[in-house]
Amino acid sequence: MNEQATSGSAVLEINDLAVGLGGAARSQRVIDGISLHVRERETLCVVGESGSGKSVTALTVMGLLPKRVLTPVGGSVRLAGEELLSASSKRLRQLRATTMAMIFQEPMTALNPVVPIGRQIDEVLRVHTDLDARARRQRILQMMEQVRLPEIERIFASYPHRLSGGQRQRIMIAMALVLKPKLLIADEPTTALDVTTQKQILTLIRDLQRDHGTAVLFITHDMGVVAEIADRVAVMRNGKLVETGPLDTILRAPTMEYTRNLLSSVPSLVPRPPRPRTDEPVVLEANELGKIYREHSFFGHAREVAAAQDVTLTLRKGRTLGIVGESGSGKSTVARCILRLIDPTSGRVRLAGHEISNLSRRLLRSHRRRIQIIFQDPYRSLNPRITVGETIAEGPVNFGVPHADALAKSRELLELVGLPPDAISRFPHQFSGGQRQRIAIARALALDPDVLVADEAVSALDVSVQAQVLDLLDEIQTRLGVALLFITHDLRVAAQICDDVAVMQHGRVVEHGSAAQVLTSPQQAYTRSLIDAAPGRGWDFANFRPVETAAMS
């Protein structure tokens, strides 16, 4: 994408790098034989799933590996020709911020909460330059303007908690680039942000890179982001380099099997072919559902925050309804109100013909079996002290099924979700994230629910695992005819699994319709901006080609 990609000298050269656990030379290697280079004005995207070693590579360059835990054991890392692995810690300190700088994934925690923003950027200048206070301030404000922050004077004096995630990431970028380093390392800098903010930050990095001529080492797990920002791509897996090449080559004609699989796992933004409309009965109906939180402040009046307002949804047997929206849009609140994990403040919920929004906790219990939930975090949604079999059997036992029968059912369900029957007597920690999510699905199915709520159920998973779990949900729906309420922030996922989509913003449904209609010809500006911001929307990854313009318009 960058016409100058091939020109310029190499800013960063990594050759045959190996990083071992602990200090010993023959210890287990988390990174083995990585060779990369990044030139001036070039963006190299390092892409890989969790455990691929991409972040460790970045931290090795910065000399920020956790001491005594990870140690470089071989190879070389050269920054503008200078060897870093053998450099003294004093020299590394001098190079940081001046020649190489880094921004991190979590903007919410990457800034010191008790020091004003201005002073945190000022530290960089104080350590590395001889500028006086006025000149430093000038330089900082100028940099803050370059990262397009509003009201820079105010933000200069503010503490981080006053700023949004996107603003904090801009501050991080300002801090990283204030001394115009040759190399910027960005470790998943937009992963924690909403798509619209992500788009702004990606554009910002791109623009600043063009202005400053910076070399960027960009680490991500998201192929969409890769397609947006990379000049060249390096694919990593299990600490090894799988392949590397120009963006176009990798996306169109990857040579390695792993890369092909990775690309074909990326769900397409183009909605899947619509399923025929059905006249199956409505199993779930929410009418003008609302949830208002009252914050009691000590002085003055209670403040009211509407987490959800006037939400009306209908879901038929065997269909999938997606609720999409950015963080804070109220999509999870709606799900939890429907499940009565929290109590709605207004509106009605009808579940298989029964009104449940005003039932007492006791009366509600008998209806619980009709609606079940799968949570986002597979590490926290299973009790670590209880065996998988008992976890799945808990629901049926609650409803009077004899314990032995419930366990037998657990075994069947494990098979259904693709786990070996001996999983029944094992504990959750013995399974990977994807496997745990399968267990959570089995638990949800144990009660033969009419409705399954998946609250960001695939968001914490790697893209290849995500594809498998989505396939599983689809298969289960076909076999059991269960209705699926699918909550996600990811339009790609929504496009692949939903029949209907409701887009939420600020607690309200702003657009509601069939997936094909909402995602290909959105009526509302907000929906359009969401789709616009989806990274890599120009690429049809699974088919190794750009999206045909006909499908987009």
Binding site: V30, S55, D377, R380, R385
Partner: protein
């Protein structure tokens, strides 16, 4: 997420709660503490069958004798055998330590579970606990004892009361954070009753922290009992307890310092051992609970 490739390190170590006692010998120092506490306990239990002088036998002719073959550590101001009194003193200390741990955990667990689960009780309960915590434990204990007389039971009650709020607060905080876990919400949505959720999903989370807290209460109780006896507000002076022996020794400190140092050493070793075992238990069972409140 940055160091995602650390094998295992990023995974929460959530092995099912096993009754592993391996931590008792995890390092040489912990092993020494385990052995030391074992010895003190064995001596205390076996005291009546050991060839010792009667710890209560007054012998005015043998006052303040130095160490000898007959009296290995010498005698006190009433001619009683110091070694025998120290060994018998261990019985009271360990009994108080264990008793206070069991009682405070029993009461604290109930209060904590109830407070963690029922909001309307919680507010009242926690104000009461705050109030109790505001009273310095030694003052609270001596006030209780001075009013109801110094028996083993009152001393135990007086030492246990100030420990209860700490246990209750601990249990409450564990319950409150465990309630927010998705697996508890999952249990609610599969229709489990409140009782079942409490018993099956919340209670087990409190076991590890309570074992750890129990050892700290035990150490703290042994210490408090000694202080009470030392101040003259504990169990009646003729009963051999480490604090009582030292209290009597105060008057003769410049003449015979061993009356203070030997029981002081035993007391310190016992508390040190229990504390070290508590730390080891914490590291083994409950790595998250690194901090430790202000127990006396």
């Amino acid at each position: 997420m940055a160091i995602e490739t650390l094998p295992q390190a990023s995974l929460p170590v959530t092995r099912p709660f096993g009754r592993r006692l391996g931590f008792l010998t995890s390092t040489p120092i912990i092993t020494a503490a385990t052995v030391c506490l074992g010895l003190i306990t064995a001596l205390a239990i076996l005291a009546p069958v050991l060839p010792l002088h009667d710890p209560l036998q007054l012998a005015p002719a043998q006052r303040l004798k130095p160490a000898s073959a007959q009296f290995l550590l010498g005698t006190d101001a009433y001619g009683r055998d110091l070694l025998s009194r120290i060994i018998y003193g261990g019985r009271i200390s360990l009994l108080i330590g264990l008793g206070a741990a069991v009682c405070s955990i029993g009461v604290g667990l109930v209060i904590g579970l109830i407070s963690g689960f029922f909001r309307w009780i919680d507010a009242v309960m926690m104000r009461i606990m705050d109030g109790l915590m505001a009273i310095p434990s030694i003052l609270l204990a001596i006030a209780v004892i001075s009013l109801s007389g110094a028996s083993l039971t009152t001393v135990l009650v007086a030492i246990t009361i100030p420990e209860i709020p700490r246990v209750a607060r601990l249990v409450r905080s564990v319950v409150l954070s465990a309630r927010e876990e998705p697996y508890v919400e999952a249990a609610i949505s599969v229709g489990s009753s409140m009782g079942k959720i409490m018993w099956r999903h919340l209670m087990p989370n409190t076991i590890a922290p309570l074992i750890v807290q129990g050892t700290y209460v035990c150490a703290s109780a042994i210490l408090t009992e000694a202080i009470l006896s030392f101040l003259g507000a504990g169990i009646s002076p003729e009963t051999p307890t480490w604090g009582n022996i030292m209290a009597e020794g105060r008057a003769f400190f410049q003449v015979k310092p061993s009356l203070i140092f030997w029981p002081g050493l035993m007391l310190s070793l016992a508390i040190l051992s229990v504390n070290l075992i508590g730390d080891a238990a914490r590291d083994a069972l409950d790595p998250r609970m690194r901090q430790r409140g202000g127990e006396a």
